[in-house]
C-alpha cells in the first residue's frame, strides 16, 4: 500500500497536515508515504488529476483506491485508511 501526498511549500493547509501525516506514518510502517511537491513534479500531479491540495491518494498495487482533498485530523485519516 502506498500513499501519495501532493503538497506545495506555499500551501498553508498542507503545512497544517504535515504533523498529522508524520504521526500517521509512525503508526503505519506498512504504508509507504511519498511526498510529492507539485511545483517540482507537475507531471505527476497532472497524471493523477490533482485539482486541489493537500491531496492524499492511496494506492494499492499501483491502483488508486481512495482520495482525500483538504486538511483533516488524524482520527479522520485513520477512518479513511480503515475503510480501504
Amino acid at each position: 500500500m502506498e500513499l501519495l501526498d501532493f503538497y506545495a511549500d506555499w500551501c498553508g493547509p498542507c503545512q497544517m497536515l504535515k504533523p498529522t501525516l508524520e504521526e500517521f506514518e509512525k503508526a503505519h510502517p506498512e504504508l509507504k508515504i511519498t511526498r510529492v511537491n507539485i511545483d517540482e513534479e507537475e507531471e505527476l500531479a497532472e497524471k493523477y488529476g490533482v485539482s486541489g491540495i493537500p491531496c492524499l491518494v492511496f494506492l494499492k498495487d499501483g491502483e488508486e483506491v481512495a482520495r482525500k482533498v483538504g486538511v483533516m485530523p488524524l482520527k479522520k485519516l485513520e477512518k479513511v485508511y480503515e475503510k480501504i
Binding site: G12, L74, K75
Partner: protein
C-alpha cells in the same frame, strides 16, 4: 460523559484565544474542532496585520497559538459539533463521536465559503471548483480559469491568479461559466457555521449569532467569539479580542 467548566466550539483564533484566557484562570477547558486548528487563516501565506510578527504565515501562527493553548493546559478533541442542549447541570455538547458536559459554552465555529448554486454546478460539470486561489491556483499555471464573484475577496483572487494563469475571466454568481475555463474559483462571500445552533441561540437572518461587544448570546452561559458573531470587522485581532471577552465573561458566569 466528560465534564468541563467551559467547552469551546472551534479552534480558530477566537476559540484558541478564549481557551488561553480560560485555562489561565484555572478553568477546565475543552476545545472542539472539526478539521484543524487555525480556521480560515491557515489559507493565508503572509500576514501583515497581526501585531508583532510581520509576514508570519497563517499556518505558523495557528501552530504557535495551538501549542501555547495546549502547553497552558487546554484539552482538544477533533470532533464535529452537531447539537448543543441544556440539562440540569448546564449544557450538553453533542459531537459526531462523543458528547461533552459543560457549565459554560463559547461558540467560535467561524464561517465557510458560500457555495455555488446547484444550477451553476450543472454548468461547471466535471471541472474542478476551488474556494481558495492561493491554495489551488498554482495547479492551473498557464491555463484559463474563471473567478465567480465581485467583492473584495474576488478581486484579491483575480489579482493572484493573473500572475499564474493565461486568462482569468470574472463573472457574477448567476452568469454562465465560460466554456473554455478549466477551473472555477469561487469568491461569493462567506456563511456562518451555525446550523447546529438553530433553535438554541438567537441567530440573525443570515445565521450569525446575535451578540455585541460583550460576546453574550440569548442564552445565559453561552458566549460567542470571532467571525460567527454579528459584527462589522472580521479580522484576526477582533477574533482574538472576542476570545478574551467571551472567556472573561464565561469565567464571571461560572463564579
Amino acid at each position: 460523559m466528560k465534564k468541563y467548566d467551559i467547552v469551546i466550539v472551534g479552534a480558530g483564533i477566537a476559540g484558541m484565544t478564549a481557551a488561553i484566557y480560560a485555562v489561565r484562570a484555572g478553568k477546565k477547558v475543552l476545545v472542539l474542532e472539526e478539521r484543524v486548528q487555525g480556521g480560515q487563516i491557515i489559507n493565508t501565506i503572509n500576514i501583515e496585520n497581526w501585531p508583532g510578527d510581520l509576514g508570519v504565515s497563517g499556518a505558523d501562527l495557528s501552530q504557535k497559538i495551538y501549542a501555547q493553548m495546549v502547553e497552558l493546559g487546554a484539552e482538544v478533541e477533533f470532533d464535529k459539533v452537531i447539537k448543543i442542549s441544556v440539562d440540569d447541570e448546564g449544557f450538553v455538547v453533542d459531537g459526531e463521536d462523543d458528547s461533552y458536559k459543560a457549565s459554560a459554552v463559547i461558540i467560535a465555529s467561524g464561517t465557510e465559503p458560500r457555495k455555488l448554486s446547484d444550477e451553476m454546478m450543472k454548468d461547471v460539470g466535471k471541472r474542478p471548483v476551488s474556494y481558495c486561489a492561493t491554495c489551488d491556483g498554482a495547479l492551473y499555471k498557464g491555463k484559463k480559469v474563471v473567478v465567480v464573484g465581485h467583492g473584495n475577496s474576488a478581486e484579491h483572487e483575480i489579482k493572484y491568479l493573473k500572475g499564474i494563469c493565461s486568462e482569468v475571466y470574472n463573472i457574477h454568481h448567476d452568469d454562465p461559466i465560460p466554456a473554455d475555463a478549466e477551473a472555477i474559483f469561487v469568491a461569493i462571500g462567506r456563511l456562518p457555521l451555525t446550523d447546529y445552533l438553530k433553535g438554541f441561540v438567537e441567530l440573525d437572518e443570515k445565521g450569525y449569532v446575535i451578540s455585541d461587544e460583550d460576546c453574550k448570546t440569548s442564552v445565559p452561559g453561552v458566549f460567542v467569539a470571532g467571525d460567527v458573531r454579528t459584527k462589522n470587522l472580521r479580522q484576526l485581532v477582533t477574533a482574538a479580542s472576542d476570545g478574551s471577552i467571551a472567556a472573561t465573561n464565561a469565567i464571571e458566569y461560572l463564579g
